[in-house]
Subunit: 254 residues, 6 copies
């Protein structure tokens, strides 16, 4: 029995439900999925400012799962965490908080993309995310094979009445990547697009990598193997100290 | 009249006072310095986890300065911000929040170091900070000329009764960088070391760059020139949206 | 039902059995594993020369699986291939030959390692493999977080009477990586070490990543998701042409 | 009292006056500015050949300031040098010649640009300067965030009757960088453009960084802090030796 | 007397004759040229799959020259090898097999191009070769000054009735590189283009580097100097072991 | 008949004679060698300051060869230039001055080294040259396979009574590179070492690359092929303009 926690770091329960449903659809029969979002924070994550606040919400949510007696949650331990945001919001900090492996959508999607394509493109909703994603791509060592392009739509447009328009904008951006950037596959640069991967793949004829699916399956695999986050260096448990004010309860403890 | 805000993102008022005093000591006569720290968050910043919480405290503090009528603070606008932490905690997000230029200690110190030395070393208190700083060094494009080493002491040791021991550990680490890494200058990898730069410089005989001084003078220079953060891309103002829970008051507004 | 082919590109049936057994031990209940090696080629792969010959054996073996009527093999299609060699022998060429995803041990292990550790080391048997592996690490974009070290033993020493000596040499090399290179985890740089991962992990106290396990679980995950190799660029099917002599039967066909 | 020497390495006294005036306009009241150019060398610097000759003129001029008794110049020491050319002509050699900090326009401008923009463009007059500037950008570690484009005009066109045409060509090139390269700010790639920064900023609506202003303020800041060039490595004083012929007087002395 | 072996790793004797003729045309009077191709393998090399098979043919051919008593070939030793394919097929493995220096067309052409141009372009026949060549360019450290473009023709089209059409497609691609990529010189990305270098140079007015000529002259120079491949690391002789099946005769021997 | 000019950019006629003799010893019978040094400049080149002056001497010498009627020198054109200094002093500027190909010792030596070794080391006399050479290695794209070490002796020590001591220091430094840096070959980092390559090779047992020999043979090869420096970009002829003072005679002309 493997238990995976999929944490959407923004406050959209619609997103949380969507990514949870997708996760449950693809895990093995023996895998348990918890899908959660924080109890405070931004409605969506578009750029650095939202990301800073969402990181804290993510960490607070993980603390609840790591120390279940405090929070009256399910006492069974989590074997792996997915940070269900394509900005990989707070992933490094999250790794300090648990022995379970933690992965974000971008990292997982880039790894799967590199296996099925020599060159590929991330298509993300808004232009404001392009540079943060380029920094992630550089951090993950994929700059020489991955470009980042924006579709020019809001993240939340993929839900609700603008969904068709958003899809078309995304598809057009993806087609440009194939034609002009030499991309051989498309990576969906937002958790909210998880349900359009199949349609886009059918219409474009190239692999379309959904970060939610990639991250869930990768962390499930690692959880099954029992791989744990190293505590020997950068991901060591945070040194014990006091936190003040509204963050007092989040202080690292021994 | 140029107004500089120096924000220490941790809760140590001792640190805040120290960096404020250093800032005031080095600015031009026409420059006004405000030194602040958040009203909530960690006592010090050692690694990714502390950094995530400190980022939010930093942003909350900056909002108070940017929208002074809300907070009954001084109404004079800020011409430049220093994030007084060597991890450059939250700097990218901070740039989204203001038109004034924003710099962290690491970025400023690396720039000054590269002018006076061809190869140099950052010496930081704890090993847990080495990888985060190496990522910063890579982000700033200085990997080929800068190594990061740890002295093996706690950040807070530089204040109080362990200060002598901490200084000696730092000096030993710095000497090793000069002898074995080919460093030609030393960068102090923590805001809390600002008052030992002169002593270390005198004892080592090579340039010692204190990030507080570097950042304050650099942002003062940019403020005097009237340089503003670009709103045309990654540092655009955060899109308007709702934030929930304890973060509701920090939602981006038009 | 997902079918995974694990191809050991050298002629050691001992290796093939070992990696096959490890693969079967870790896959989900619905996953079928075929473990094979070529019918011609080198007894082990140590350096560039062996690799060139082993690549052809690998491709010949894959052709048998891709075109089962020619070879009277099992007609069920393969959903994913593992090239069970840490040199990722022939992986790029293999991707041209099939729509199923293909991964080598090194690529998969590096991806898992980067999730559980900020910096890590590959420990490989012989010095002659260090530079080929460094080139792989660079190709996979991991040079800034991964060093490659040799234990100074032959690959085949991990089987048979020298196994204890080989293990000790490996462990010593790994300990040096932790102490001197800042490694936070160890990657086993040879398929033949798959059965010592648990022991080494227990004795070192840091994550030990076995490439066989990583590659099998990763390709199983991708097979389950139905991800296919892109045929839009570098991994397009080989253009039809004639091959002569002993390679005549391996000519690309439409 | 801080004394800054701004050395224009070409022979255009018009340029020298212009950069001197700009420097005096922006320094603090306690800062003394000397603006000089060599007594021999090229009329402007366009490409590698001009640069080689201009470097020697720069060094000769600096020697006069460093050893004032020889030259009957003002005996007050210089606290910082600006090499007022965007090619950073001779900067490394200049650092060997003095303990004061030395910076070129390109290095200073890139550092300020990186603080106010995530991605930016250098616009330089002639195409022949593009590759030399790209090499500088790479040396300064900014290749991933900075492109270099040429306006297609001569450097000297920014003075005199062609100035309007030159300005328009520059503005058009800058607009293309904003539209097509994702630039969020413009860096003026020539000392001779220092007086058009405000106009271009007003018309483009993004930050425009003038290297003269950036370098003067940065070196003034470093001079005020008392930061000195390290003599421990690449910028050590030149070993004593003889020089012959027209360069005899420039031989390094103890 | 210097003896150079030029090995075309594909089965086209037309190519072999062409590159042999070109080699003989350019070597010094005291240099002996042998032009050979394998006795088995693909008719041409277009992408990774062909390359894997051609590598083995190359190595088999070299063994014949290195151990002439086995093969009844000329007993005079070879002073340098040219792998006459622009993919540098099997070059690393070939270096393990001989003490003579070995170079491929791509490596040699890039080195000559970098001497006569600051930025240049490889024009190759088919799109399927672009990524393999980009990987070579990265391996050789030339990514910042070299782009790879495809003319959209088959390799074999440069011989026979389609030769005019192939030439025109190549020329058009080259012109685009000059106009849009800032290339200052063109590198011919296929051994089969060796006879069109002069015409293209005459029509484009920029240097055109033919890999055959570059590699032959470079290896002739190294052979004359007596430079030998190092056996101290990655290019050590392959460890002795058994090979099975159709590769049995190629097993490394002491 | 190919004519090669070997220009030693320093004033040591001893060095000039030595490199000239070595050049003549290795060129083909039909190749004519001119060995020259400037008529003004430093006695040796050790670091950035010497280099700046030596560059001008080099260019002045080349002008004499390119415009022989002015200088009453031999009217036969030069087919290729070697800048006989391992710092590649002034090479970019030199390429602007001629259509003949121009190469420095470092670039040529790195290219030959990369053909015979996967990893190698430059051993240079003085520590002050390490960073300039590291910048060259980075410019030539070889940072991942080449380290630079200093022997701790003066350049001129390789001539005269200290020659034995200098040789021993060099050999010790080279041995350390083999043992600790994984170097498989040694590159001699100074023109003055050209006559000790054979001895060092014999004593170390690995390839020793002498830059003089590498550059002379490479430029001879390029001259024979008729390869010319591109005038389409960075190496275009310098724009016509006036030079003043002692440099008046070096002004670019049409």
């Amino acid at each position: 029995m493997t238990r995976i926690a999929v944490i959407n770091p923004n406050m959209s329960t619609g997103f949380t439900d969507k990514v949870g449903a997708q996760a449950r659809r693809i895990v093995a029969s023996g895998t348990d999925v918890i899908a959660l979002n924080p109890q405070f924070g931004p409605a969506s994550i578009e750029g650095y400012y939202d990301e800073a606040f969402a990181s804290v919400g993510l960490l607070a949510t993980m603390r609840g799962l790591e120390n279940p007696t405090d929070k009256a949650l399910d006492p069974k331990p989590v074997d792996g965490y997915v940070v269900a945001c394509f900005d990989d919001t707070g992933v490094d900090a999250a790794r300090c908080l648990t022995k379970a492996p933690v992965v974000g959508l971008c990292e997982a999607a880039l790894r799967f993309a590199a296996i099925v394509a020599s060159r590929f493109a991330i298509v993300t909703p808004m232009a404001v995310s392009v540079r943060p994603l380029e920094h992630l791509v550089a951090k993950y060592g994929a700059s020489s094979q991955c470009v980042v392009r924006a579709a020019g739509v809001r993240t939340l447009d993929f839900e609700g009445e603008n969904a068709d328009m958003a899809y078309l904008a995304l598809k057009t951006a993806a087609e440009n990547c194939l034609a002009k950037d030499g991309a051989e596959a498309i990576v969906l640069g937002c958790a909210g697009m998880t349900d359009i991967a199949d349609r886009l793949h059918a219409e474009l004829g190239v692999p379309v990598i959904d970060g939610v699916s990639a991250a869930v399956k990768m962390i499930e695999a690692m959880g099954m193997l029992g791989l744990a986050t190293s505590k020997a260096g950068a991901y060591a448990s945070p040194p014990v100290k006091s936190y003040d004010g509204i963050f007092a309860e989040f202080a690292p403890v021994a």
